[in-house]
Amino acid sequence: MKFIFEHSVEGKKAFRLEELDVPLSQIDFPQYLLRDVPPELPQVSELDIVRHYTQLEKLNHSVDSGFYPLGSCTMKYNPFINDETASYAGFSKIHPYEEEDSVQGALELMYNLQQSLCEITGMDAITLQPAAGAHGELTGMLIIRKYLLDKGFTNKTKVIVPDSAHGTNPASAKMAGFDIVQVKSDEHGLVDIQDLKMNMTDEVAAIMLTNPNTLGIFEKNICEIQKIAHEKNALLYYDGANLNAIMGKVRPGDMGFDVVHLNLHKTFSTPHGMGGPGSGPVGVKKHLSPYLPKPVVEMDIDGRYYFNNDMPLSIGKVRSFYGNFSVMVRAYTYILMMGKDGLRRASELAVLNANYMRVKLSKSFKISHENICKHEFVINGSALKEYGVKTLDFVKMLLDNGIHPPTVYFPLIVEEAMMIEPTETENKETLDNTIKVFEDILKVAKTDPQKLHDAPFNTPVRRLDETKATKDLKVRYSIK
């Protein structure tokens, strides 16, 4: 389809301002600071714009259009009410530098959300400032760094990350100034305790874990792991990407984690919006709370809410203002709707759905590990090689069936991985249909593998040449 720029006709407009109602002022700065050539923005009509973006929207797969079992991404249904409340003028049209007394409703919402998230995670204090999960990880690692330095641990320069971890974990720890030590997973898909012990030196500042891990398996040795960490004065960091498995069932705080980040855009159903905006709150235990980014929202004895900026030990700020507020509004709306009972039920059903698919699919596919999983599981697609196809080929045919592929080639420790997270909002019919589609594609792989190499057929574009995209790097439209 055309670019918006290709609809341009010189002189066409979709925008009309009020006529200027004040006298013209002199331009009192040097001519060279005055723009000579205007930016080549589209010159189109309102309907041109409406048609363009309406067509673009149709090219996307989305949760609303079909099943989206993308592992570790928690593509659950995003309730419309979230967007309605976020659009209220009292939330969307307020300025961050308004006086506190002018925005008591917003502050109360943030305060209540902080309280709810503390309760869900079992932590003592929380910041809502980070804008996304990875941003939360960076924030958490900076908190750990500053805390340990203040305690006099100047030699703690390393962070342990399992080989099954999300890529953001090592990247975030690195940005916070740490060196990365990778520990192995054992044959059950769990952190290899022996390997962990071997790497657990005095130089280790923290262990970053996802629990359940990216194989969807609960790290049942978590109590031992937390002991190993704390004995060496290292802290335990919880990557909340997989929190959707455990709400109301078990809490990171109770497992011994010191720092937790959450992804409100995953677990709390605020939409992903094509990859953002997210929100990545970070919860900590009491001893770390002075290090949170400032400000945090607090309530005084008169029940008035305020921003506490008086935090001398704070790591500082990780973004401007207070975070992605309208994402917080959505998450809070969802938490109110679900309540303690609904959140617990959501996690239970997310785990039920994953296990149902795991067991059904295990009849035809190799699952990375045969234990009960939590909210997701991983197919080992190496058997496909027998038919001369890869996981990538396999999932491209899912696209033709209106199903978004699972996360592929991750976690790195499973060959030809397909990581499936159905979420709790999908019904049995969808799961059954998907299981059948998987089995049907497997049959095609056996009988007509070329078809998989050629897939997808029915998508807006066929397979794209990624090598060309990098070789002939073209990252903007050349106007005229």
């Binding site: 929207e57 609303d64 530098y97 903007r476």
Partner: protein, 447 residues
């Protein structure tokens, strides 16, 4: 209990458990130690009707720009947003899609981002742009880290007239990596960067100089002259207000190496400060050092044009700790809002908005000065914000203005910790002459 978002009937749950070979839901958690014995200490679930009431009530306890005029900006601006912008952006195929990892079913997202990158390049005068950062502050912080990667040097000079929150965020980001951050003074008369101080502080270890254009105090920095005073191997990072670039020369034409900034003003609601988005543009030669996702054009196997994420080997999901940044989720949906907004404005609209901001702010300044209750603080040229010293405490003035249904200027001291009795005024195309006349005569009578 009925939950609208949970589709399972009790019968189905029973069937599914049976398929798994389990008796009850709790069996799914049999491997979990430290299970909660009690329910969470939170409210129980509610109906949508109840939740709507609660949220409406909370929202009504905030003063919104629908009901109040505003003379405050300082990084977040109240511009006119055409009705179709949010309605189009709220289409669920945008809202409920994930990161475009499967390109064949994400062409809507990918083409939109490619067009967005183009628009950012056009506005900033730069060659390449990524597909967004969290906000202006984190974009600036990442630009400083990138400048260090490009130059292999560790000292960065930041004009002290850059938004104080951006400087704070940059401090947080650079603290662990031994960056030497030094602040450059501003000329106390003009409010522009002090070139003498620049000359004194710039040396062989300098990686970059960061300037905000227009700066936090509203003053238009002369980045051409600044560039002329910086050796060419040292990067010039410009933090820009994209609306102002409808009137002001593109930083790319004045020698900027990296241009970043906050994109909220491009069609996004104020949202209490977030989400907006950070834009990030640079020279092509630095593209492999850029953080964040970049979208590129290619062909499918039938020769049809399509788009994919490119140079992913810079990113964390491929390169892990060797990535250029840890950023994963960005602010894609806010760039959609900006793209639609910029399509509305078009080639002439951005200029018109910028010029209106300029003229209205200058009229506001003139009227306030006529009242003889204020003194100018800086003589340098300004765009749509300016600082005046007030003869009454800014807090008291703002309280009185609030009673008149106006959100007054920013009390600078509250944000910068200095600048006592100084107020940062802002006008945009939304500011009406009658509002300006009203508040200036009100203040004249009040003070």
């Amino acid at each position: 209990m009925d939950y609208p978002f949970l589709p399972h009937t009790e019968e189905e749950i029973g069937q599914m458990l049976e398929s798994i070979g389990l008796k009850q839901i709790d069996d799914l958690y049999s491997d979990v130690p430290v299970l909660l014995k009690e329910e969470l200490s939170m409210a129980p679930s509610k109906s949508e009707m109840q939740v709507r009431e609660i949220m409406k009530e909370l929202s009504c306890r905030n003063i919104s720009l629908d009901d109040y005029g505003i003379f405050r900006g300082a990084g977040v601006y109240n511009h006119y947003i055409p009705s179709a912008v949010y309605q189009l952006a709220s289409k669920r195929g945008f809202l409920t899609a994930y990161t475009p990892y499967q390109a064949e079913v994400s062409q809507g997202t990918l083409q939109m981002l490619f067009e967005y990158q183009t628009m950012i390049c056009e506005i900033t005068g730069m060659e390449v742009a990524n597909s967004s950062m969290y906000d202006g502050a984190s974009a600036m912080a990442e630009s400083v880290l990138m400048a260090q990667r490009v130059t292999k040097k560790d000292k960065v000079l930041i004009c002290d007239t850059v938004h104080p929150e951006y400087i704070q965020v940059t401090r947080t980001y650079t603290e662990p990596v031994n960056t030497v951050l030094e602040l450059l003074k501003h000329d106390s008369k003009t409010g522009q960067a002090d070139l003498q101080d620049l000359k004194a502080k710039i040396d062989d270890s300098t990686a970059a100089v960061v300037v905000q254009y227009t700066n936090f105090y509203g003053v238009i920095e002369d980045i051409k002259t600044l560039r002329e005073n910086i050796p060419s191997h040292i990067l010039l990072i410009v933090v820009a207000n994209p609306i102002s670039l409808g009137m002001l020369q593109a930083p790319g034409k004045l020698g900027a190496d990296i241009v970043v900034g906050e994109g909220q003003c491009l069609g996004n609601n104020c949202n209490f400060g977030g989400p907006g988005f950070g834009f990030f543009a640079s020279k092509h030669s630095y593209i492999r050092q850029m953080p964040g996702r970049i979208i590129g054009e290619t062909l499918d196997r039938e020769g049809k044009r399509g788009f994919v994420m490119v140079l992913q080997t810079r990113e964390q999901h491929i390169r892990r700790e060797k990535a250029t940044s840890n950023i994963c989720s960005n602010q894609a949906h806010n760039t959609l809002i900006a793209s639609i907004y910029l399509s509305f404005l078009g080639k002439s609209g951005l200029k018109e908005v910028a010029y209106q901001c300029y003229h209205k702010a200058h009229y506001l300044a003139e009227k306030l000065m006529e009242s003889e209750k204020f003194e100018p603080v800086f003589s340098g040229p300004f765009f749509n914000e300016f600082v005046l010293k007030s003869s009454v405490p800014v807090g008291i003035m703002n309280q009185k203005l609030l009673e008149q249904k106006y959100i007054g200027p920013l009390n600078l001291e509250k944000v910068t910790g200095r600048d006592k009795d100084c107020a940062l005024f802002c006008a945009t195309e939304m500011t009406k002459k009658e509002e300006i006349d009203y508040i200036t005569s009100f203040l004249e009578a009040m003070i």
